[in-house]
């Protein structure tokens, strides 16, 4: 049957199970928007394309399904770039669709033309410029397959206007055939045997679990393996929730702002089992002194991650869940472990600490958020001090409940991501823990949250500073606060101007009632917490130091 390219596109998206698109219209995507007008796909109109990309990202992180965003050519497409890069760094499945000027106008610097496939080459897993409506169905299928299989990532499809409006036959493209693309599922049996032997021989093993545990759905296997061998588990920022934070074997987050006991454990372990991690510099700090006495084992679906940053003794390339399952089948349980007991002592001796002085402390606010929600909310964050406090003081027990920009560190991510999370999880409480700097990077999305009645809560840790940058200036630049102090708007009035609810908390005693009030309102709420202005995030590994040498 003959259809327009836009109709083929939307039908192909439906065939991939897409129920929601986050987007923003413009000239060359009008054929697509015209089809969407009658479609059963829910379209969420954000107020900025960056918001659409982050919302699609949040939707994907919460639901495990690929997020889809749509923008017009030129500035619409370039506004997606930060969101695409963010998804790329954190391996989030996303399909970004951009309009493009009509094919006869390509390459002529036409109105609203940008070479978006060229621009996004380094920040997509793959991208396509569709030049013929006959290719749309196959391209969509390949895009979703690439985005969601193996190590997930964003894929971009660029659709020239004439390709969307011209007619073509819509035939089912059949199974994906990509000779240059293959996914390693099964770990090598010999390496697996070595891994099992190394675990059996180890006395002080530590698991270092990352985002791959969450995206690979391997949290159940991770818990089983850790309990079976009484192995302590440290998680990265991306791995939070991949292992229950309240479990006796959990040592919390490791790295620059990780727990002391996690970093001590890494420093003294004799076997480090990296599971779905990439040995990021925020974790390892000084590479030469990272886990100095340990045999390094690394499980990852992406072979290129093995040996990228650290030398690996036992590589296991394969699906994380499948690999852990095979290890569990081959190992015998342990009944006692002095190592676990030693870590339990460290845990008692070096808890996360802050000074209580009667003023509102961000750490306490976050702890209260955890108490009020009983740890059951979906938390998103922006980027900065509040993000690290959220990672330290909220206890995450389930995967996909902590949603944060890890690799790219994108200020402005948390709120639009929360919108995507709320769309994916309409019955759940979604809270964006924000800083006063970050929230202003995409605050226009309040209009989106209000329009679609998405009852996202925003808790602003308001210290009138770009807090993390100020902390670095304090510690490493002689307190010269160069352009980090902010004159903020009245966030309560701002919320009200958008039609949301605004609550200002001025005293410590008001923190909990304010949170309870916010949870009870079925509307977007902005909570303004004026916190101690020069509070620091501790512990902190200063840049260039080994991770057991922490400040604070």
């Amino acid at each position: 049957m003959q259809k327009t390219g836009a109709q083929i596109l939307v039908d192909s998206l439906l065939a991939e199970g897409v129920d929601t698109i986050f987007g923003y219209p413009g000239g060359v995507v009008l054929p697509i928007y015209d089809v969407l007008y009658d479609s059963e796909i829910r379209h969420i109109l954000t107020r900025h394309e960056q918001g659409a990309a982050h919302a699609a990202d949040g939707y994907a992180r919460a639901s495990g399904k690929p997020g889809v965003c749509l923008a017009t050519s030129g500035p619409g497409a370039t506004n997606l770039v930060t969101g695409i890069a963010n998804a790329y760094m954190d391996s989030i499945p996303m399909v970004a669709i951009t309009g493009q000027v009509a094919t006869p106008l390509l390459g002529r610097d036409s109105f609203q033309e940008a070479d978006i496939t060229g621009i996004t080459l380094p920040i997509t897993k793959h991208n396509f410029l569709v030049k013929d409506p006959k290719d749309i169905a196959r391209t969509v299928r390949e895009a979703f397959y690439i985005a969601t299989s193996g190590r997930p990532g964003p894929v971009l499809i660029d659709m020239p206007k004439d390709v969307s409006s011209d007619m073509a036959e819509h035939a089912d493209p059949g199974p994906v055939q990509l000779p240059g693309y293959s996914v390693n599922q099964e770990p090598d049996p010999e390496q697996l045997a070595r891994a099992v032997r190394a675990i059996e021989e180890s006395e002080r093993p530590v698991i270092y679990a990352g985002g791959g545990v969450v995206s690979g759905g391997a949290h159940g296997e991770l818990l089983e393996l850790a309990e079976m061998l009484l192995m302590p588990v440290a998680t990265t920022l991306m791995g939070l929730g991949g292992f229950p934070g309240n479990h006796p074997l959990s040592v919390g987050m490791l790295g620059m702002h990780g727990s002391k006991y996690a970093n001590y454990a890494i420093n003294e372990c004799d076997l480090l089992i990296g599971v779905g991690v990439r040995f990021d510099d925020r974790v390892t700090s000084k590479l030469e002194e990272f886990a100095p006495g340990a045999i390094i084992m690394h499980i990852d679906i992406d072979p290129a991650e093995i040996g990228k940053n650290v030398g690996v003794d036992i590589p296991l390339v394969g699906d994380v869940r499948l690999t852990l399952r095979k290890m569990i089948e081959r190992l015998k349980p342990r009944v006692a472990s002095q190592w676990r007991d030693k870590i339990a002592v460290w845990k008692k001796e070096h808890p996360f600490e802050f000074v209580e002085n009667g003023r509102i402390k961000p750490q306490e606010v976050i702890r209260e958020i955890c108490n009020v929600t009983k740890g059951n909310a979906r938390i998103t964050t922006e980027v900065g001090q509040h993000q690290m406090w959220a990672a330290q003081y909220y206890t995450f027990t389930r995967p996909r409940t902590f949603i944060s920009s890890g690799g790219l560190g994108t200020m402005g991510f948390g709120f639009p991501a929360a919108i995507g999370v709320q769309v994916a999880c309409s019955d759940e409480t979604v809270i964006d823990i924000a800083g006063d700097g970050s929230i202003q990077m995409n605050i226009q999305e309040l209009a989106t949250a209000v329009h679609y009645n998405l009852p996202v809560k925003i808790a602003i840790m308001n210290n009138g500073f770009l807090g993390m940058v100020r902390q670095w200036q304090e510690l490493f630049y002689n307190r010269r606060y160069s352009y980090t102090e902010l004159d903020n708007p009245d966030f309560v009035k701002l919320a009200e101007a958008y039609g949301a609810v605004g609550i200002r908390v001025t005293k410590k005693s008001e923190v909990r009632p304010a949170l309870e009030e916010a949870m009870a309102v079925a509307k977007p709420v902005v909570l303004d917490f004026p916190i101690e202005r020069e509070e620091n995030v501790y512990p902190m590994v200063p840049p260039g130091e080994p991770i057991h040498k922490m400040l604070g």
């Binding site: 380094p122 240059g180 293959s182 992406d302 290129a304 040996g307």
Partner: protein, 173 residues
């Protein structure tokens, strides 16, 4: 620092060269030369990439190249027996008085004269990069006006081959 020769089979689709070249530049790998052309199959192109780096760099180059969806197969043929060729075109000053000398040099290197100007000769020469370098050096005293090299192409000797077999997987030797 070792120089490696990679035989890379890629899909013959637009943008592949940009993907490969971009990967090298943004990850800080050093390309010595890169030559591309189509193969016996019209859907498949072959790149011969010469890259500088130790084993660790090479491993990462190979793995990162594999991640590109358009890259079908990569072989590091450095340690195998292979034949390699490069083509150079050199336009050199050659007044009528010097022409004989230049033509003698061309003879020694089994180069061919492909164009003749009033004061210049244009020569073509093929060979491995050692021979091409020597040829270039021999002509330099006469004044090279223009020079272009294709970059190296290479193929394994004997029955071994690095061609594309349609079994749906990427392979390495």
């Amino acid at each position: 620092m070792l120089r490696h020769t990679l035989a890379v089979l890629v899909e013959n689709s637009p943008g592949v060269l940009a993907r490969v070249a971009g990967l090298f530049s943004r990850r800080g790998y050093n390309i010595d030369s890169l030559a591309v052309g189509r193969t016996e199959s019209p859907d498949v192109s072959r790149m011969t990439i010469v890259v500088d780096g130790d084993e660790r760099v090479l491993e990462q180059v190979t793995k990162q190249l594999h991640k590109l969806v358009d890259v079908i197969k990569i072989n590091d043929i450095t340690v195998d027996e292979y034949v390699d060729r490069e083509l150079v075109l050199i336009k050199v000053n050659a007044d009528p008085a010097q022409r004989g000398e230049v033509m003698q040099i061309a003879d020694v290197f089994r180069a061919r004269i492909v164009d003749l100007g009033r004061r210049t000769l244009t020569l073509e020469c093929t060979g491995n990069d050692g021979k091409i370098n020597a040829f270039e050096e021999s002509l330099r005293p006469y004044g090279i006006k223009e020079l272009v090299r294709t970059g190296k192409i290479a193929m394994l000797r004997g029955t071994k081959y690095t061609g594309y077999q349609d079994n749906g997987t990427k392979e390495e030797i």
